[in-house]
């Protein structure tokens, strides 16, 4: 779960990180009031769950409450990579001497937390990794003993930091690692981490992603979930216990099992089609769930045909077929649906479908044939 900048910062502050003072505003007037309260120059920053807002014009530095109001007026409502800006963070200014990068993430390969630090902050770390890989210090933390003081020294000495800056970065890292752990984060990133003219080390911009699987023990964070910002179909799928991801194409895809569905998307693409979504209905032949899934998939107006790819494993093919038929009955879909049924009792299942099938349902024996058929039907415009 990604957090908004202002939410992530609030949590990081609770773990001892130092940030600039900031106020969230939902209207230009609130932004003006915030700028008045903070005084001096302020930054008005779009709050969106995506990167690249700077390039998109979502961050403006202004020098008066008037300007802040005007900036907020421009930014609020803006669309940044498909995300509508509904809040801005108005933050006080700081005289910046240098910008660094600091993050803790999970390294899947090493199975350990990975710290990345660079004195080249303010740009994306991937960019630094390409242009100047030597400027990045990488350091794994062994979860059995946690972050050790010597590791902090390795970071600060490697960057030739000294005095208060070294101390400030060290303390920031210690607190950031602690936050990473306590928040069950999969990513905590500070970019840039700045040294100010008066020697302070501040978190200027940050990103916090909390592991979804841990939300049961972080009720406060789970409550931050922004229903409005989510895609309404994805939101509905989530509530129904379906794995659903919306894509750009016109072939709606359903299946049982994440791997199989991913594979189905690929096969559809190989057949020259474009998947409209990823939708895993999970195990079992629950007609209710299948009908909800069908409804969500087809509520996407771009969808011209639907491919339902089922592998009968634990649930037998005949049961799946009955569940599917009952689901199709419950919904009112006229789009062509291609069903491919394989695995345990697949033949019995196919027979059931053949005997009772509505005219818009087509059955195929193999994934490839089913994919080709669905792509054809979509190209025919769903007729």
């Amino acid at each position: 779960m990604d957090l908004y900048e202002h939410q992530g910062k609030e949590l990081l502050r609770e773990h001892g990180l130092e940030t600039l003072q900031g106020i969230v505003a939902e209207t230009p007037e609130e932004a003006r009031a915030a700028a008045e309260k903070l005084g001096g120059p302020v930054a008005v920053k779009a709050q969106v769950l995506t990167g690249g807002r700077g390039k998109a014009g979502g961050i403006k530095v202004v020098h008066s409450p008037d300007e802040a109001e005007e900036a907020a007026r421009q930014i609020l409502g803006m669309d940044i990579r498909g995300h509508t800006v509904r809040k801005v963070l108005v933050e006080g200014g700081a005289e910046i001497e240098s910008e660094m990068y600091l993050s803790v993430t999970v390294d899947r390969e090493a199975k350990q937390p990975l710290i990345l630090f660079s004195t080249e902050g303010g740009v994306e770390i991937e960019e630094v990794a390409e242009t100047n890989p030597g400027a990045i210090v990488r350091l794994h933390v062994d979860p059995l003993i946690g972050l050790q003081p010597y590791q902090i020294r390795e970071i600060t000495f490697s960057a030739d930091l000294s005095g208060d800056t070294a101390k400030g970065v060290g303390k920031t890292l210690q607190n950031l690692y602690s936050a990473f752990q306590k928040l069950d984060a999969s990513l905590v990133e500070i970019n840039p981490l700045v040294v100010t003219a008066d020697g302070k080390v501040l978190t200027l911009d940050s990103k916090v992603t909390v592991d979804n699987s841990s939300l049961y023990r972080h009720k406060d964070i789970a409550d931050l979930h922004d229903v409005e910002a989510a895609d309404p179909e994805e939101q509905r799928a989530q509530e129904a216990g379906l794995q659903y991801v919306k894509l750009e194409g016109d072939v709606g895809i359903l299946g049982n099992g994440a791997g199989l569905v991913m594979s189905t998307l690929d096969v559809v693409a190989q057949a020259g089609g474009e998947p409209a979504n990823f939708c895993d209905v999970g195990g079992g032949a629950d007609a209710e769930k299948i009908s909800t899934a069908l409804d969500i998939v087809t509520s996407n107006r771009q969808v011209k045909s639907v491919l339902f790819n089922i592998f009968g494993g634990i649930t037998r093919g005949d049961e799946v077929a009955r569940g599917l038929l009952s689901a199709i009955e419950q919904t009112d879909i006229s789009l062509p649906i291609v069903v491919r049924l394989d695995g345990t009792n697949a033949e019995e299942g196919r027979q059931i479908l053949a005997e009772n099938t509505p005219p818009n349902v087509h059955t195929e024996e193999t994934m490839l044939d089913a994919a080709r058929r669905a792509v054809e039907l979509a190209k025919d415009g769903g007729q």
């Binding site: 899947r108 390969e109 979860p143 841990s214 791997g259 690929d266 494993g313």
Partner: protein, 290 residues
Amino acid sequence: MAILVDEGTRLLVQGITGREGAFHTGRMLKGGTQVVAGVTPGKGGQDFEGVPVFNTVEEAAKETGANASVIFVPPPFAADAVFESLDSGMSTICCITEGIPVHDMLKVSNYMRVKEATLIGPNCPGVLSPGKSNVSIMPGDIFTPGNIGIVSRSGTLTYQIVNELTQRDIGQSTAVGIGGDPIIGTDFIEILKKFEGDPETECIVMVGEIGGNAEQRAAEYIQSEMSTPVVAYIAGFTAPEGKTMGHAGAIVSGGDSTAEAKSQALQKAGIQAATNPTEVGDLVARTLGV
């Protein structure tokens, strides 16, 4: 032979009286697996379909000689269950549970370094050696004993591929679902190594997907260390960046983690790669010369 589980596997089920645990224990028993004990705290002394239930793994192991465990306990208690199995001497542990916090798994997987055991999963279908032992939630019916080893990050995709093989009368030695989470106990390489050491396994199918770079590392390993032929398949070429495709670990988060990058690494290492599950069956058949 087979790897990880076989006729000598004496299985203990953690969470045997729960909904999932009970359902799959019944199936494993029907499949002929020696399920010797179950564990559900507070239900010690009961029995489940003839399997004695204990309060702790230690007690169960002592009383029944269990040497492997399969875990069906809910996510908040799953890491504890793995530690309990580890510390009670289980040598193979399959953790089926989906949704274990990543930080719990960081602790568990690093603790594995001080233990001699193998942890499969979490968020995995388990391990099945056809005709020998089924320590999984996989449908035993579609399997047939034989010489193909399967190692996969995905459950249903494994079933699909097994079905392709069985339909071609190509049997399997062992199928291992290593799991779809970002942090898993055992990666491709450890399983490939075991298959390489198994004289019964003549060919291996490796099923990967987007996320991480385990497939790249496996490709290097296969090229430099293995003589057993490997047929690979990667799912997720159409997956967009930053979206979780069903499995917590199946997410494109950088160049390395795309299906394309993985596929290229496999090709570079001279490994046969199929473009769909059916082709996996074809390639295996061709490799075996059947």
